[in-house]
């Protein structure tokens, strides 16, 4: 059930990318898609009543959550940041050239 809610968030992002006609909105959509996937990865690795995967000095901790998805998501967050930075740079240049964020007005190339 919670997985489906997470995928619903994913679908909102996909919908935004496919339907909206504004560059900033498309970037927002890409961001939402990334959040949804990161959340999904962590949900998959969660263990009920688990503890964070950090060892303590004087006690033995049982029942930790899965550390592997956390490591993967850390990588995925960085990749998302890299993509966002590059796409914003391209968006700023596009704005500079065309004077608008509206994709329908940025149509030099034929489909």
């Amino acid at each position: 059930m919670i997985y489906l809610m997470c995928l619903f968030l994913f679908c909102i992002g996909v919908y935004c990318i496919l339907v909206k006609r504004n560059i900033i909105k498309i970037i927002v959509g890409i961001g939402i898609v990334e959040y949804a996937i990161n959340l999904f990865f962590i949900l998959v690795g969660y263990r009920l009543r688990g503890r964070a995967p950090i060892l303590a000095q004087d006690q033995v901790i049982q029942n930790m959550v899965d550390p592997l998805p956390q490591a993967l998501v850390l990588t995925a967050i960085v990749i998302g940041l890299a993509v966002t930075a590059l796409i914003v740079a391209i968006a700023i240049r596009l704005y500079e050239r065309y004077g608008t964020f509206d994709v329908t007005k940025i149509r030099r190339l034929r489909g």
Binding site: F10, V14, I17, I23, I26, I30, V33, E34, I37, F40, F41, V44, L68, P69, L72, T75, A76, I79, A82, V83, L86, I87, I90, A91, R93, L94, R97, Y98, I106, R108, L109, G111
Partner: protein, 499 residues
Amino acid sequence: MNYELIPLFVAIPLGSAFLVSLLGKRLKGFSDAFSNLATFSLFSLSLLSVPVIGRLRILVYKVGGWIAPIGICMVLDSLTIFMLITVNLIAFLITIYSISYMERYTAKWKFYTLFLLMLAGMNGVIVTGDMFNLFVFLEIASISSYSLVAFGVEHEELEASFKYMVMGSLASSFILLGIAILYSHTSSLNMADISRILVERGSGEILFFVSALFIMGFGLKAALVPFHAWLPDAHPSAPAPISAMLSGLLIKALGVYALARIFFNVFGMSAISSSILMVLGIASMVLGGLLALGQDDIKRLYAYSSISQIGYVFLGIGMGTNLGILAGLFHLFNHATFKSLLFLNSGSVEYATGTRDLRKMGGLSSRMPVTGYSSLVGSMSISGIPPLAGFWSKLLIILSAIEAKHFIFASIAVLISILTLAYYLRVQRLAFFGELKESMRGIREVPLPMRVSMISLSIICLFGGLLLIPAIGKNFLNLATEVLVNGNKYAQVVFGSMK
């Protein structure tokens, strides 16, 4: 001792990219010399590993000394070697070409840095044996290609790059979601381990859903037909060496190779996925060919033709029979050579005349003989004129379709081949033959490095057919086919070699 070779395929381009970006701005000529050195050493390294793999069949490298499901492993088998040779050979010839061509752009060292990073990404995708690692290197290759498409920073380039980038990030998201679901199902990320677990559990709805996600994701990267919209914008907008790189290699390394590896070796090919791949291949073949017919921009025409030829590759590989896979892989190699040759030709034409519009050209062969005749070789090879390499691979694809009783697909493939001949003859007639236009009197042949690279590529196109003779191509083509035909046995082979 041979184990030390494997990480070098990634480490050499990465290290040289860092060095070029550190020193390239300060020392004149350093970036040219060093990038060529790097690609040349990569190419010789991949040639060196052919006899090793011919003897041992598979090498597994444990990064950091951790055994496979715990750490990451790199796998070097015959299919990997096949892709590595294709990628590094073409990349080496393209770097030679860029020495002169990229003089027309500013900030050459940035170009070389991004180029080497893209190469590192592709080699990383090919060499890896881990799902998530594949995703990471796929992102390196994609992100550098997004910025390379926008390298000229004009209107069209930025727009094409934006479109490409949106589509590319969507594709990456699908792939990552697929990996997440797969991880939850199997609790492993290593390809061989996943394959072993999936064989034990059998297939189900999860596998179906993940396959759909991967077809969407990698299909977007490979520009299969319902997902092809970005390619005809992105490939022509890039500088010519990058168009050659994108069309010749990137869509194959990220799209075809990754899809084939996952579907054959990890999931195991089923009848449904086989027919889906074939139908998508046929659709790309037909639509790409038809759209190419009406183009006047020479690079745009080549880009549509890429979609069409990728369709052939998918038809061959999707068949799943021994002959079909062999033909598909051979066509992949051939397409890498002749499509990069053709894009380099178009770059030379643009370099000399300053236009890409076919209607403004004419009679260029008389002024630029090397470009003209190498383009003739490339066009004839891609349209399947006998003794050239392209003929043999297309023939084999059609034969394998007949062998597998797909008569309709075979006849469509023949028809599209004729269509291909038609639009390439049109290019030749408009651009290189006929009478020379008045405005084109003053043009000259392109500089030496560009000629060297075009001539070498056309020699490969001329004699590529020889690879089919078992004595020459045995370690190269046939063993690569064997890896895909073996399917799920991949897991046993990998784990067997790790002990």
